[in-house]
């Protein structure tokens, strides 16, 4: 496959969207001008399971400024109510606490909120289960897990191999529910004009959003336009439309054509916008005394919502990371009366790497060998699961480069021995990986304008990742023109079809369509086009996927300080080295890696959505109680990458960078904390109390 030579890509180009953003002029979903708007505020269920027996809306309806009060009794019917997360106000059933049970539309946000508070709902409450336990009685095996992977896999005879292994680590690790919490709340502005729907949405995928909405409202996809030029972060939670998008579009049916605006409050986001499912992971590693792994099992119990299945691919990482002749991975779901889990940055690999990479640290200690050396000894020659060669596997290079830069040789193998000014200090390492995905079904269009610009159109989305900039560079390089000659248009379903900004697949997928369009453009119109000349090009499924295993790799290093008296824990230094194929823009790429590591520190130290099982209530549902890293939590953070071009990753040679920065980060911190204190914490997050013994 021909790989583009670095030209406009690889440049440290300033953000294309930077100017609009520093001027405060970049419109996020809520910021688009709307004529004579109305405002929505919902009523949420106060029980975890049961039925609505009565709703009194009289007080709300008679308030000044109230346009409509919608309940399951009067809301317009959806054509398709099969997806129970999205079938808002279609029945009297309540499936989790915090679910929409009514909505007020009013002339002002204040009036809507006040009226919503006056809606009285009565319920028939039924018993519920909201806590995840390993011994949950009705655990079930889903047909498949996310990303279309097999639920369970097995090779060899793991149980027999464990029985005969010289060294065995058999431990259980847990990761809590976590909420994505992008800074921009999930927001929808919807307006019907006859049978056409216009939606400004904070979404990672405009085309997917309308594909989901069309059957619900019994219209063709062409009758819906979804617009999202700028998105204030998403980290997965804006990848799939959630209930509020449907609710807002439904409410817009009863306003006589007036737009309806709805931004979830931060508190509502904890129930209605997806979250990372909590996991319970049992890892068993069996090895020879010199650390050669013969058997690796990873058995996962995790939760889904009873109203909609979500099966996180938590143990997927253990299928390809290390060589072991005997392997087993399983996933079992507890179906609970809880909000619907969804994607959060590196679903699968992120929680799975915590279990696997802490277990590796435990095995290194049990064998008395260096954790990096342990990984060297278990580096597979081919993908253990598929038997295919890796297109590019530079894990060991990442580990060695990171060790050199971080000062790994200064690590004291004996834990709990370094005490400086009352702080126990240690360092730790973990490996990282993320699959390289390229989605087909992307089309780009290029048109030459009368004033001499190349208009490049694709319905992609920039949620802060830098797509505006990277795609401009890719187009410029493919057209062999300067970036300033490219006018990129993204974030609108009026533009050619594009897949989700997620799974670290965006740049590679959209970029290959743009390259295809550019090649077609030059073929059809040559080097001196005329105004109006237009060509289209499509992305394609990566043919290399048939013969190669495509993954990115990385190494995470952390230095941790734990106060000897109080247990206060700080990550004083963190360093990542990544192998992610070609880097399109070093500036935006570095920011993505560092952002991922930052969220990894949050996962390690702070983030935890606490379920009060008696009420099905996420009790810490705001930023006062759900802690994300503030600037004082992030000290020295560095990201490096190996210079490489993955010729199997497609015409761009890039594999995607949005998620690998978080994978393994929490394990590196936990391993460093063990090295500092001799206390092995297997349950995230690593709060101070866990170091007080």
């Amino acid at each position: 496959m021909r790989v583009q030579q670095p030209a406009a890509t690889g440049l440290d180009l300033e953000r294309v969207d930077g100017r609009a953003k520093v001027l405060g002029l970049a419109p996020y979903a809520y910021e688009h001008p709307a004529e004579n708007p109305t405002y929505l505020y919902p009523v949420q269920s106060t029980i975890a399971r049961g039925r609505i027996t009565a709703i009194d809306t009289a007080a709300a309806e008679t308030m000044d400024g109230v346009v409509a009060v919608l309940t399951h009794l009067n809301a317009p019917r959806l054509a398709d109510a099969a997806d129970k997360e999205l079938a808002v106000l279609q029945s009297d059933e309540v499936g989790f606490r915090g679910q929409f049970v009514a909505a007020v539309v009013a002339d002002s946000p204040e009036a809507a909120r006040e009226a919503a508070a006056r809606v009285r709902v009565q319920y028939h409450q039924e018993p519920h289960h909201a806590a995840l336990r390993a011994d949950h009685e009705d655990l079930y095996k889903p047909e498949q897990i996310n990303a279309g992977l097999e639920t369970d896999t097995q090779a060899g005879d793991p149980d027999a191999a464990l029985a005969s292994a010289a060294v065995v680590v058999d431990r259980t690790y847990t990761t809590p529910a976590e909420h994505n919490n992008p800074m921009e709340p999930h927001t929808t502005v919807a307006q019907w004009e006859g049978d056409r729907l216009l939606v400004f949405d904070s979404t990672q995928a405009v085309h997917n959003a309308r594909k989901t909405l069309a059957p619900l409202f019994d219209v063709e996809v062409e009758q819906i336009r979804v617009v999202a030029p700028h998105v204030g972060g998403g980290f997965g939670s804006k990848g799939l439309p959630h209930a509020h998008v449907v609710l807002t579009a439904l409410a817009a049916k009863v306003t006589g054509g007036r737009p309806v605006k709805y931004a979830l409050t931060r508190q509502q986001m904890f129930f209605l916008a997806g979250y990372r499912t909590p996991t319970i992971q049992r890892l068993q590693l069996g090895a020879s005394p010199d650390g050669r792994i013969s058997v690796l099992t990873h058995d996962v119990v995790e939760q889904t919502s009873a109203i909609k299945e979500f099966a996180e691919q938590t143990a997927g990482i253990s299928r390809m990371m290390y060589s072991a002749d005997h392997r087993r991975t399983t996933h079992r779901l507890a179906s609970l009366d809880v909000p619907v889990p969804s994607w959060m940055r590196a679903p699968g690999e992120c929680p799975g790497s915590f279990g696997l990479e802490v277990a590796m640290d435990e095995l290194a200690e049990a064998c008395g060998i260096d954790p990096i050396e342990l990984r060297v000894r278990n580096e597979p020659a081919i993908d253990p699961e598929t038997g295919k060669p890796f297109a590019s596997r530079h894990l060991l290079a990442c580990l060695r480069e990171g060790a050199r830069r971080f000062g790994w040789e200064r690590r004291n193998a004996q834990p709990g021995t370094v005490l400086v000014d009352g702080w126990r200090t240690g360092i730790g390492v973990a490996a990282s990986t993320y699959p390289a995905r390229r989605q087909p079904a992307n089309t780009a269009r290029i048109r030459f304008t009368a004033d001499g610009f190349y208009e490049v159109q694709i319905g992609a989305v920039d949620l802060g990742t830098g797509a505006w900039t990277a795609l401009t560079q890719i187009a410029a390089e493919a057209l062999e023109c300067g970036p300033e000659q490219v006018r990129l248009q993204i974030g609108d379903t009026d533009l050619p079809v594009a897949t989700v900004a997620g799974g670290s697949s965006g740049t590679a997928s959209w970029g290959s369509a743009i390259i295809g369009a550019a090649q077609m453009f030059r073929k059809e119109h040559g080097g001196f086009p005329s105004a109006g000349d237009t060509s289209e090009g499509d992305g394609e499924r990566n043919p290399a996927g048939k013969n190669y295993a495509l993954h990115s790799f990385g190494a995470q290093f952390a230095e941790v300080q734990v106060h000897a008296d109080t247990g206060e824990i700080r990550v004083s230094r963190m360093l990542g080295v990544y192998s992610a194929g070609r880097i399109i823009n070093p500036r935006t790429a570095r920011s993505q890696f560092l952002g991922g590591m930052t969220m990894g520190i949050g996962m390690a130290l702070h983030e935890q959505s606490v379920m009060d099982e008696r009420f099905g209530m996420i009790v810490n549902h705001d930023f006062a109680d759900y802690h994300v890293p503030s600037n004082a939590d992030i000290r020295q953070l560095e990201a490096f990458w190996l210079e490489e071009v993955d010729e199997h990753a497609g015409p761009l040679g890039a594999r995607g960078i949005g998620e690998i920065g978080i994978v393994g980060a929490a394990a590196a911190v936990a391993n460093a904390a063990y090295n500092a204190t001799g206390i092995r914490v297997r349950d995230l997050p690593l709060t101070a109390d866990k170091f007080l013994t």
């Binding site: 953003k21 001027l23 992008p182 800074m183 920011s591």
Partner: protein, 172 residues
């Protein structure tokens, strides 16, 4: 009730309900949407504006409390066609990804630099300690503010502000 205030140098007078928060007044009533709303509990700082030169979380101030005061929002940072050094700094040092926290960060930075033209990193971190960025990991934000400190208003390196039509094109 009737309130009057100066917003980015312009006198505005409006009839409002007493319960309206300053953040909603600025966004809904005045149409200045560069000030964002992110948490409802006064924790995130995406809503920060300057009131008489002091950073305030505008979700925690009633519009009525701003009566008679001077408000400055992100839209009032650039002046006479020139970006504020803070704005230029956030572009130069890549102090933003999604940009949602950026207006609040920049206004806090402006207030800091007005009081303390040469802050050290610790003082910058202290200044923005009430504000969350979920994207960047903060280091580039600190560097952006340092860049602005090193390029005060009037120094050659601050660039021209885009006229709004040009900026809109970027977002089309």
């Amino acid at each position: 009730m009737q309130i009057s205030m100066s917003v980015n140098g312009n006198e505005v007078t409006r009839d409002i309900e007493p319960r309206v928060l300053l953040v909603h007044f600025i966004r809904e009533e005045l149409g200045l949407t560069g000030t964002h709303w992110g948490c409802d509990t006064s924790n995130c700082g995406t809503c920060v504006v300057l009131m008489d030169g002091q950073p305030v979380k505008s979700c925690t101030v009633l519009a009525a409390m701003a009566d008679g005061h001077e408000i400055r929002t992100v839209e009032g940072l650039a002046s006479n066609g020139a970006l504020d050094p803070v704005q230029q700094g956030f572009m130069e040092e890549h102090g933003l990804q999604c940009g949602f926290c950026t207006p609040g960060m920049m206004l806090t930075a402006r207030a800091l630099l007005d009081k303390n033209p040469h802050p050290d990193d610790g003082e910058i971190r202290q200044a923005i300690s009430g504000q969350i960025c979920r994207c960047t990991g903060y280091a580039t934000i600190v560097r952006s503010v340092q860049w602005a400190a090193n390029h005060p208003v009037g120094s050659a390196a601050t660039g021209d502000a885009a006229d709004p039509s040009e900026a809109e094109e970027v977002t089309a």
